[in-house]
Symmetry: D2
Subunit: 375 residues, 4 copies
Amino acid sequence: MTAPVGVGFVGTGWMARAHAHALHTLGHVAPLSRPVRLVAIAGRDAARTEAAAAQLGFERHTTDWRTVVDDPDVDVVANLASNDMHLSPSVAALELGKSVLCEKPLASTVEEAERMVAAADASSGLAVCGYNYRFVPAVRLARDLVTAGRLGAVRHVRGAYLQDWAGTAASRRGWRFSDPVEGSSVGDYSHVIDLVRWLVGEPVAVAAVIGTLDEKAEGLHPATVGEDHEDWYAALLRTAPGVTVSLEASRVATGRKNGHYIELFGSQGSLSWILEDLNRLQVYFREDEAELTAGFRDVLVTEPGHPYLEHWWASGHILGWEHTFAHEWLDLLRALDTPGQVPEGLPVFADGLAAVRIAAAIRDSALTGSWASLQ
Amino acid sequence: MTAPVGVGFVGTGWMARAHAHALHTLGHVAPLSRPVRLVAIAGRDAARTEAAAAQLGFERHTTDWRTVVDDPDVDVVANLASNDMHLSPSVAALELGKSVLCEKPLASTVEEAERMVAAADASSGLAVCGYNYRFVPAVRLARDLVTAGRLGAVRHVRGAYLQDWAGTAASRRGWRFSDPVEGSSVGDYSHVIDLVRWLVGEPVAVAAVIGTLDEKAEGLHPATVGEDHEDWYAALLRTAPGVTVSLEASRVATGRKNGHYIELFGSQGSLSWILEDLNRLQVYFREDEAELTAGFRDVLVTEPGHPYLEHWWASGHILGWEHTFAHEWLDLLRALDTPGQVPEGLPVFADGLAAVRIAAAIRDSALTGSWASLQ
Amino acid sequence: MTAPVGVGFVGTGWMARAHAHALHTLGHVAPLSRPVRLVAIAGRDAARTEAAAAQLGFERHTTDWRTVVDDPDVDVVANLASNDMHLSPSVAALELGKSVLCEKPLASTVEEAERMVAAADASSGLAVCGYNYRFVPAVRLARDLVTAGRLGAVRHVRGAYLQDWAGTAASRRGWRFSDPVEGSSVGDYSHVIDLVRWLVGEPVAVAAVIGTLDEKAEGLHPATVGEDHEDWYAALLRTAPGVTVSLEASRVATGRKNGHYIELFGSQGSLSWILEDLNRLQVYFREDEAELTAGFRDVLVTEPGHPYLEHWWASGHILGWEHTFAHEWLDLLRALDTPGQVPEGLPVFADGLAAVRIAAAIRDSALTGSWASLQ
Amino acid sequence: MTAPVGVGFVGTGWMARAHAHALHTLGHVAPLSRPVRLVAIAGRDAARTEAAAAQLGFERHTTDWRTVVDDPDVDVVANLASNDMHLSPSVAALELGKSVLCEKPLASTVEEAERMVAAADASSGLAVCGYNYRFVPAVRLARDLVTAGRLGAVRHVRGAYLQDWAGTAASRRGWRFSDPVEGSSVGDYSHVIDLVRWLVGEPVAVAAVIGTLDEKAEGLHPATVGEDHEDWYAALLRTAPGVTVSLEASRVATGRKNGHYIELFGSQGSLSWILEDLNRLQVYFREDEAELTAGFRDVLVTEPGHPYLEHWWASGHILGWEHTFAHEWLDLLRALDTPGQVPEGLPVFADGLAAVRIAAAIRDSALTGSWASLQ
């Protein structure tokens, strides 16, 4: 019988709940070569951590993250703590040759992210950054279509991440508002930056503006970078092969609940996707014009042949947001079986660093009022 | 410490997977007064049942459903087997005072369903019929709006359940095609009948036609009831208070993957919902017309205040189909804590019987070419 | 120089406005072999008719419809009056060898409609019935796809016409409420019946229920046919080749403004269309499934190659409802150039009669509570 | 009897067709204080102009625009010629005290636009710039909601104009490709700039990139401003009160036919609109959250109380793109009755100049790679 993979968590918040849910789920929906064992969980507050351990099914709990990292039964450390805690436990685990799944943004500064990548490079462990939206079946199908050339040459891309949870004065509390950078829209919404990179390649320059909500939570004003909360930003990105991307992110966009959106226009076709309807992909093929029946196809990505769907239900039965984590862990666990090979699409620390660099360039550009180079 | 609730499964198919997923999930997303223990699972094929037990996390497995029913550690029997197996294990468990969750349709004939209701009436156990779509948050919100009178008097209702999985000759294999009634569209799509009953009350008469796909899977022809496969039906229902409902169901509706749809028109407002986008509810209020801003509101039912959402993620993070089962079990398990009180909205065997009677009336009407009475 | 085609109107209401708009429009958007001359208009009220003549650009006006019919300059009589006026002016004009465009429903009774068809058969004039939705470019494209076999064998069809203008007590005034049949939902919404016939063929039997709003405009009750206003109906139709159609129409469906809807499911593909978004057609091809990119295509029917679009604007510039009439007149006027040949798709009096017969069968079925035969 | 308003056209292209259509339409849908007379039309090609005069219903035609401008029967000159012809006829007409409706963009350079505004300021004539999308009922409703404060303080705005007509090598012919600036996306899509200004106020700074399709109509590259065709641009705009607007326009966005889009996020509500579905407005009110029924309302802007709808059809009958011109002329003609008063919402030459300045700033920013000031 194969030994289980031991998993340890650092962090007890809703990301911990989502990841634990995925690990509980995986065992009974997908065939794994080794079972998963939830060994230990660490949190700052003892009582809350004990409760989390009980609810999420961990064997042990502690208020010291080092105990989790050092635990000999822990093979993979999931770093699900707040952003300022991403660095140390991740590096410590990698130095022990353990694998890490660290939530995004990888770090709050480029310097920290670079240290994390260095640790990953020096380690035999796998270092994954939690860009879970790569694991949405519809997004994976989009990637497959782009890679197969079905859209031709991509011309321009529109990305957005629009929410409204921080749009009222009463909602602006907690750790995300204790600091201008921690939990900012620039960092939090780096998902859309990662999708852009993954789908169409590296940006080389960025022009951006950042906005902050005024005191009464009414209008938006230009942010003083480093001082004001980053509630909104818009950015233009030029990629290596040409002009390509417009981005926008907001946490004060009244009425948008999870408007993580991406739209690609190519010479032979186009596609769009939005997280609120994550099981659908809109695809347009120019070749359909010949028969006068061209139009964006509303593809419900729940067929058995679609990415990851072999593990799930019958056609037409949609998956929830939480299963992005199941797919993420599935690919991570399989990668453990083939050391040295990172499967296509698994976001690693280098991806996390790239996103942090772009976020930094967004801030630079907003600060200087000029284009910032990413080369 | 409280004793766990022991659950036994009869059936190892994809419904077993879905229910097991729910039971694994519940423990770590919602507070339960007693933990759940997956005690035993029964299936016809020994090897397949052993594998299912391993994958789904059951302690024991057997090819004899009586072993599960009789198991002293089993408090609740989930009857997830094919329709012809709904009767005996359910009745046996109820006779032992155990609770049962039986999948729909409750039975293939009215007579069998009546025996099951009689067993339920005579038992101290809870007898639940698996109409899981009552547990979709958006559907529950719809029910709340109707109950609160926000739509005024309901005038007419449109329901449908459109799929296409049986639309090709190659797909028409397996137990659903071994018999004209087992696995028919009339029985399988009784979900929409249940929603109609639950949302607007009892039908008293029905006129219907049933269709069967021809041999080459091209056109649809009138079915000879009792001989042909029931691939499609359409029905008109009159309810006690007036004219109200049109229904249609198909498993050969090319392009529709899970078009379970309901639309209610009331004197003060209207609403519609479709399973393919199960997290959304469309709601119209006539009072909005005064300000010239009336229109169906596209409500994303993922806010903390929405039904069942307190247990889940942040606003805008959609749930998958599978969590209908989690909510179903949540309400069932809570009902065990308050014997004698069936919580509002929990579908019981009497609901299953009512749906079977309507299905029978649909067949009667299709057979005779006249209205069938349900009184 | 070619002599103009003289047109006379019977009726001054909003249909007169819509048809006049079309005739004013045609001259400057499409090449006509003969110009159109608006000769005379007749209405019941002298002052209102004079005003209509001035506004709509008619040379002459009268309160006697015979004056229009007899006018030697009038070649085509457009009968746009209320339903009870459809018979006499249409027959009189046809008896003079003139052409007629009569609004739908052709007549209130089968007997009247039969007399009108007899007059049409005996006349050298063209007798057109105003089913203008055949002239929506998207509907014409749908017809082209069906005719070309792109959907394979049609299996079943869903049609509906849902509005809410008669849903409040205050709105239930005027001639449509002076009589249970005139202006009823069964007759008014015969558009959807015509589309079904045109797209998939003749019904042979019908089962239906009709509903009437109660006094306080709250709930819907079964109508006493011939006595109550017909506010809603639902019908099942069997066509010659098999089971096919479910229909529903309502003028009390709160929130639906012009929900004229049709949905066809075939063995190779499917389509749907709704009047509120009349420039779009949703089309699904099963063959797209092979590449995992099947989905309903949202076709914006405004390309130069689409039906009727050669006369209009650039791609993507949508047309309004009113241009259905322009297309209708375009085909009618062209048909005048080729006597004896009725162009494909032009709805004639025989089509009007067929729809009246189906409406009568709907009433028969609702009255008797049994299926009504149409053979 | 009142004297008619004489209208003269400069230009015979599809804009001439659209404006003539509007003028023919107006007379029979809306009450005008004075009738409209189509006096004369000028075009470069004699034969084509004669044909246009016949088709569109003009009394006279000429190849010299001065003949139209000088015609004593012409009160209003509609300048519908190519962009390089906007200046001279407009100024000449204004100098004669005549009114002008000049298509957009007002001019190709700021200097020309300034001369046109100077001529307008010095004239007793009315000088209107053809931003016809202000006359879409749904857009006017959006403006009314913003003005009434129903959205609270506007925070940020997303605008786009996405088409694909220039996306293939074969399509890149004609005058729009004879010059890098004439007919560029920056100028052509100034509609979206005008809507932004009208709805939320003046931009004060802009950062932009412009792209050009490569020779083989595959990828997009940064444009050399002044040399390359401007096929795409994206811009960030800061307005006087704060950070607000992201814009994007493309004529190579495969699959988008008329994606003119605007989305406003305010503190109390939000709205969005797209030209392809021009009769609809999506509106969100935060106050609806209290009842758990908040969602974007899909408002079909065809009710009698909606802007401009009093002149049209019954509820739910959608209008086409072409009627934006009818509404534009309606407001222009009414403004002639009240000299000195420009009705709210009528776009004048100053609006045209403002849009030209923003277009120039977009080019400046793209050229210099830095923010361009608009103050």
